[in-house]
Subunit: 315 residues, 2 copies
């Protein structure tokens, strides 16, 4: 079932302790849609400049992603981000941001996009997310990502937008900040009280957690010895998670289905960080995805055998 | 099977956003042995002052803990720690430390302790840990905890001591610091190359991870809305983990057994933080422990059903 995503499409220059790359294809919509394309049909909504060429469009289209709703503005440049990570790969240091075409971005949805049943609102201004949400009349399941910038500068409109979606995905620090609550379980409960039935907290190398009416689920990060570039990990997670759910739209959205979606999100994020930019995800095979899904089962499984206390024990 | 633990026995004064307590029974050996006492016979090795009364000894002895090797020094005072936690309950702020009797602590092991098959070296000077390890001739499984203070001030003797044990338990930041390696998976591998076959990293509210020859296992923290006092959580984890393994000494130490030990460690840590000091653990019942063990299964379980990609997908 079709999944529409709106977000940034960018060129990223990234430096980490393990290397550097100039002007890679990046942005939240790019990482999201590439990950989601392994699970369902994806339509991407965004804006690019004249420097965004056929070869970049082809990267998306070769993954079956529909780019009909990507506006190309002649005479202007694509959003550009330059960042650095030190040994603490959890923290991105922004060195340069050129909004370019992104400054005046007004998402346009074709009829095929407004009627799609699943929508992902990538990390852009909450006002834009809200307008897209309102236009997307066919949506049965909408998910939203955001960031500290919007919590600090546009909290009210972010809270208003959050109330219109079914699922919020945030870093755990951002979830605490948005809810104004240092305890993560309470923070997730507060956000869910505003409307969304699901809250997913992304915890970097510590994995991710899911808060629902039915309970709580948590999954560790995949233990990698070589992490090259964490840029886009959160969007790849969202792509796996929402993409898997979009593929199962029409089925009952059970806790079990949501948990498998969490695993696929974690699988896609774990591949994303193994190489720079989109490199690893573009080379992925279905078999590798399935193998890592099984690996997540292996690293989290234990037998629920009760302990038999020795005779001496006081209790 | 008997488990011997050596560590600090203290009075703790603690303030958190949720309350304050003066001169509670605390210390690494106290929290460890109380948690372990739900699983196996425990003997505690430590030193206290004249202000440590029968009522404190009784707290331990009522849990079946043998205090024969706790030396009581007349005319001196017990180790005292005063600390504060702010809303970030992961970070303890030390306000006051009075080493008192602990300054000249020389652990003495009775014959019953030197012949015990399982040993836990709580967070004390590495030189003392090493001497205890050497004296404990009957030991078949020794585990060690440490902290940033010793990594900074006594790294060489800590590394020497680590080489003599089977299992190291550390906070994840401390494991990275000790190994000099920012990637946790690599850090654990390096520590294991020094000798221990097991490395357990404690990750506060994010749970804990186990690194072995056979692989990797990780478990989230239990989602609690009310955390009163994290003091002793790491020692309670160690008590559940090592206590469970001590109870199964003589059986084959399979990955499956180690994973269940990790769950019992997490269970004991999650109870510890629900109230101040030892309050919650002292009121625990076997039934509550078993219920939370099952709850950990519930919050981590997912079905390993493979994804069937829709027909359109490129891969």
């Amino acid at each position: 079932m079709t999944l529409v995503c709106v977000g940034s499409i960018a060129f990223d220059s990234v430096e980490t302790p393990f290397g550097a790359r100039e002007r890679m294809l990046g942005g939240s919509a790019t990482h999201f849609s590439l990950a989601a394309s392994f699970f369902t049909e994806v339509r991407v909504v965004g804006v690019v400049g004249e420097d965004f060429r056929d070869e970049q469009f082809q990267v998306l289209e070769e993954r079956g992603i529909n780019t009909e709703d990507v506006e190309r503005v002649t005479g202007e440049k694509t959003f550009f981000w330059r960042g650095r990570y030190d040994y603490d790969l959890n923290t991105a240091h922004t060195l340069e941001t050129q909004l370019n075409v992104f400054a005046g971005f007004e998402p346009r949805l074709s009829p095929a996009s407004t009627s799609a049943p699943t929508l992902f609102l990538g990390n852009i201004q909450p006002e834009l997310q809200l307008r897209v949400r309102e236009r997307a009349q066919g949506v049965r399941f909408a998910a939203l990502d955001s960031m500290n910038l919007w919590i600090e500068t546009a909290r009210d409109s972010l809270v208003e937008t959050v109330a219109t979606v079914d699922c919020v995905l945030l870093n755990d620090a951002e979830a605490r900040m948005l809810a104004g609550e240092p305890n993560l379980t309470r923070a997730a409960r507060r956000i869910r009280e505003w409307g969304p039935s699901l809250v997913v907290t992304k915890q970097g190398e510590y994995g991710a957690a899911l808060f629902t009416d039915g309970g709580f689920f948590s999954l560790p990060g995949y233990p990698l010895e070589d992490v090259s570039d964490p840029t886009g990990a959160g969007d790849s997670f969202a792509g796996g998670f929402v993409g898997f759910l979009a593929a199962h739209r029409g089925e009952e959205q059970t806790e079990e289905l949501l948990r498998r979606a969490m695993v696929y999100g974690s699988v896609m994020a774990s591949f994303n960080v193994e190489a720079f930019g989109t490199e690893r995800v573009l080379s992925l095979t279905r078999q590798e995805i399935d193998e890592r899904f099984r690996a997540f089962k292996e690293i989290t499984h234990f037998e629920a055998v009760p302990f038999e206390p020795p005779v001496h024990a006081a209790v």
